[in-house]
Symmetry: D2
Subunit: 380 residues, 4 copies
């Protein structure tokens, strides 16, 4: 490089421009001004279902090029990272093509719609030595990182209980239509939301050995399209509740519900240790509640810790504590970690190998519900 | 009666003067000044483990007579209601003796330590036509009554999800010694706390058909006595987590934990309906949170309802809303309902028949944990 | 006494059987079973506006005798404590008569309707050596006692800021009619609610030197009686907001509002010190929030302390922390302290001397609002 | 333009690269991908105290050019908007130069350090017809916009009470050194934080007629520099408490405190109306609490409204409600509004004229504290 101060650029190719696509684009635009990165992302190509759609989105999000065929991104010399926010059923094909082309892959969760696909993705990435990152964005929250530090350091003693719930209401209305989320392949609240809390459970307590749960379809029929009078049956769950035994021996309870009236973002958990506890709720994502059992008599209680620069990487986003990060900034942190990994920093996490384990766990839950029995995760 | 204005008196014989015994005594002292009762309670005899203990407690709590032998109360002509706050293992013997003597019985929960005892109590009471009341005090909360009204009236639509937890920390410390609570017969967090949330689940959603759960003993050994260096193994659970299928088809998740660091009274539940939801936490027992799905656009959210006279029987205890009831007042309401039932008002609830169903449910959970399978409650 | 174990009894004469009268009666009924008192109260005579009303209330609350003329209580040999819950304008006459008769006086707040009356009450009690207690019930909360301990011990450093509010909504509706509360003599939110927060300010930070405030009458006319179409002007304030300089030099802000839509019991304060802070809200009266500035890095935050036996006298009412006390139990604690003072324990507080200071402070606020200037409290 | 789809660009010149400078840069980077703007910002020149500092910041934040002299920006043909995040004492000089050069001005609050400067800025902008925007970022919160809509539409009736506090703890530590914030010219908690709540009070309730307050310097001396043993006296307030009478006749209370132990972002207010109330706290900036007085009996309470796409412009930042915006996104909204105003949309607000009124109000508070009297704002 002529200019020794100039940073290396890496081209971003984004597939899908819906909720998460926009979120990815924003993260890539913002990240370089907030984090001291050795490699700087540049928005280059956006792919969507057809060229016109892609063109409009590219204009709106700031991509100079667009295409109606995602396959064009695989191997495009200007694209170093393929970011996948397409429907779940496409994740595997896209990722495998990008891996084959030597590109890095940043894929939204859940990894895939079935175990074979997920396994193929994991194996391909491992074989190629690809840098992969899966978008379990809630893990990026400085409060989650703090939670993990507290749990793994022994600060609250030995962990003895875990409970997690992810409830939202976006499918609470029976007139909410079918979408890729309700397709049998990879749909359901278990896959969509359950995968988040499984990833959090693993992040905090480690691997899950066995599961036992039930699935319920709350609204048996949904419109085939928004506003349509025609309906067809729903074949996936609206709600999943399950017990899990971690490798450590701790039992956890999990609930995923996308038809939870009143809840827009109840992603909450509590971890109990022998010398304290922590509680978190994404509804108030800038707070972690910590109970230290060794407090002074008469002064015990949960401490409401507000996120601040003392909880990395909060300080990259704001130097003043208590000012509050937002959901979108979790994705900024995510891409910062991905770019850091690409530049030789700590490995990206969760990568495909980790996301495969999450996938296997939710699949085991599905099997346990069908068979009404405990299922070993490792058996799938 | 010479004085037409004078109310009929009913004598109270109390067995046990610990936490709950004192609470019962206080409730009987207070109730007549707060509720317009047709029959007025009078503290008459207190029984405890020995005469000296009983005498001291009788003096402290305001009973003129005392005894070291609870059997003296059965059939005592001055005792119309036998109030049982003795260890769980004694409930059956005492209750059966009182029933046989034609007295009414007010018994703390859980009803008994095993199914045969509980069944015998239920059957004896039914055969004798005895008025019985079991002390599931949390149900007396005006906010719980409001919750039931909301759930059963259809105000939040069809119920589709239920989650309940009862976590306290009184056994969180491994140096907390053995007590009647940790005896195999009738002990464990499942029986002690799980019975509360099962009673609440039934109160709100009706009977439970089948269960599937796990039990965990967090502290495997405990001192044989307070401060003792000698320990013996713990044979009961510190924590129980289970799934339940209600007769209505709804799945619920339950957690009972008496070793929950940081939690002194996390008795919490959430009921989700197709057109709304309610949430409650005994930590803030004067609030019920209601989400009505039919709110105006942009004005949706959980309403924090504060208990007031519009939520009976709050007004009997305080004419001013928001002033807050306390735990002890739940017991005042409980004895008011018992005395009202004795005077021909609505039947006491939960009576032995209902408490037997609760007992059967927690026993089914125990069996499910042992056998690692779903268990039908009706089969026990 | 023949029976060395028997406790001395003291007769209670209660004047007024409304909200607070019922609350007093309940407290006297309950207290002996909860606190280890050397003198035991006995309900003896109830006075109300006429004999019939008094009779009905006496029956309901458990007083054997009744009267339509409160003057009969003064000097009644069976009455040791005269409890005053009559309208504010009567407090002085009743109290002075009881003091003259050698009885102890337990008077609801505010002490009187003007400075001369309040001063006369204080002086008479002091001259006669009467045991007096004024019903600023919120001070009895174990969480307030804890707050005071934290503030006065230096636990949060030097106090540098104070803010208090007492907002309720019982006069928010313009159709709420006139009552003794809206009479010019002694009425208004400033006197009714402002006196509570002034008492709390003094309890925590000590005397108030000067004040400066404004009064507002939100609803200029109110019905002369419930449901009446006839209205008359309101001459007292619905809302008072004022600044205060404590003797210590700290500035505090206060707000009293009885027309505060949405607030049923927002009695809240925050005390800021150089090394921490505390925050309290009676809406959640069993919690005190403590911020210790010396927490560990990344673990700072407000601790939500839940009331328990480690916060006396909570343990007298319940041995289990987190179970929650209610408003009525604050009055039980109040009468326990009164009875303890009568039996030679610590002096009752706040007595008439303290209540006079509160009265003087709110009167100074009134003057400051009229004159639109700072007013020295000691000048009144 | 050759390309009809290409958007007009506008060059950004930023002065200052501290907390707010970084925040501005990030907002300008992000905004075009989130809002459908007719004019697109482009980072062009960054000025800071010297060339080296400016160069480093320019590299970090993505500006191609840099300068150690802000004067170079005034009139730079590549700079359409001058964004000022320099110390308060420089605001006037910079703004006047930019206005004279025909550029738009985006200035951080408070507008200036004294009334004459502020007036000159207002007058110059008005005379030149300059588009100005002042960074009272909290006003951009969709929840504040909702609050304003509720207040001004009459949804909660006539407004009768207002209370606001802005407390932070960044100066709570006496070892926090002097900075531009503690300089007499334009410093103090009153100017720094009080200006925010005055702007909010005006946003919601309109102009303030008169004020009466007190100022306190909590820490009389501070180090001259971080870690320095040498101190010098503090001449500004750490805390300001004041009463205010709005033109509408409503009285409000305000508190600004930058030495508030425990509070990192307690920017809170409550507005009471005759038919409801709203409450807000920036600590949980994605929630607005609304009490509608016309609720159903037994269902009254504050509704916790969570921000979502139904509260514009939330949907521009995230299509899914409850996902939470962060502090930085308030600035994104701010620049979107500025850019929209430049492109012919609604006028930018608050502009210099509005910020002058805020300035005048806090100056009046200062005078009232000195003179210990009520002060008319319009008189300054």
């Amino acid at each position: 490089m002529a200019d020794p101060g100039a940073k290396e650029k890496i081209g971003i190719g984004l597939i899908g421009a819906g909720f998460m696509g926009k979120c990815h684009a924003n993260a890539f635009r913002s990240v370089a001004g907030l984090f001291d990165l050795r490699v700087e992302p540049e928005l280059r190509v956006l792919a969507d279902v057809d060229e016109a759609t892609a063109r409009r989105s590219a204009d709106a999000l700031g991509f100079p090029r667009s295409t109606g065929d995602w396959r064009e991104l695989a191997g495009d010399p200007e694209v170093g990272i393929v970011a996948i926010t397409a429907p779940n059923a496409l994740h595997a094909d896209i990722a495998l093509a990008a891996i084959a082309a030597g590109q890095s892959v940043y894929c939204e969760k859940p990894l895939a719609v079935d175990i074979p696909s997920a396994r193929a993705m994991r194996d391909a990435a491992e074989a190629a030595g690809t840098c992969t990152m899966v978008g379990f964005g809630y893990l990026r929250n400085p409060m989650l990182k703090l939670a993990r530090e507290i749990v793994t350091s022994g600060e609250i003693g030995d962990i003895v209980a875990f409970r997690a719930i992810h409830a939202e209401n976006y499918m609470a209305d029976p007139s909410a239509p079918h979408s890729f989320r309700t397709d049998t392949a990879g749909g359901g609240a278990l896959f969509d939301l359950g995968s988040h809390i499984v990833s959090i459970g693993r992040f905090l307590l480690g691997p899950i050995a066995s599961v036992n749960g039930t699935l319920a379809t709350i609204h048996a029929h949904r419109p085939v399209a928004p506003g349509s009078g025609e309906t067809r049956p729903v074949e996936v769950d609206d709600r999943a509740v399950f017990l899990a035994e971690f490798d450590s021996g701790v039992t956890g309870s999990f609930e995923a519900n996308w038809a939870a009236s009143g809840r827009r973002m109840q992603l909450a958990f509590e971890v109990t240790g022998t010398r304290g506890a922590i509680a978190f709720n994404q509804e108030r994502m800038n707070e972690l509640h910590l109970y230290p059992a060794d407090g002074a008599t008469g002064r015990h209680g949960f401490i409401r810790i507000e996120a601040g620069p003392e909880h990395p990487p909060y300080g990259n986003l704001c130097p003043a504590g208590g000012h509050q990060l937002g959901y979108n900034e979790l994705k900024v942190i995510e891409v910062a970690e991905l770019l850091d990994a690409l530049a030789g920093g700590p490995p990206a996490h969760p990568d495909f190998a980790e996301a495969f384990e999450v996938q296997r766990t939710v699949d085991a839950v599905k099997l346990s519900a069908t068979d009404r029995r405990w299922v070993e995760v490792a058996g799938l």
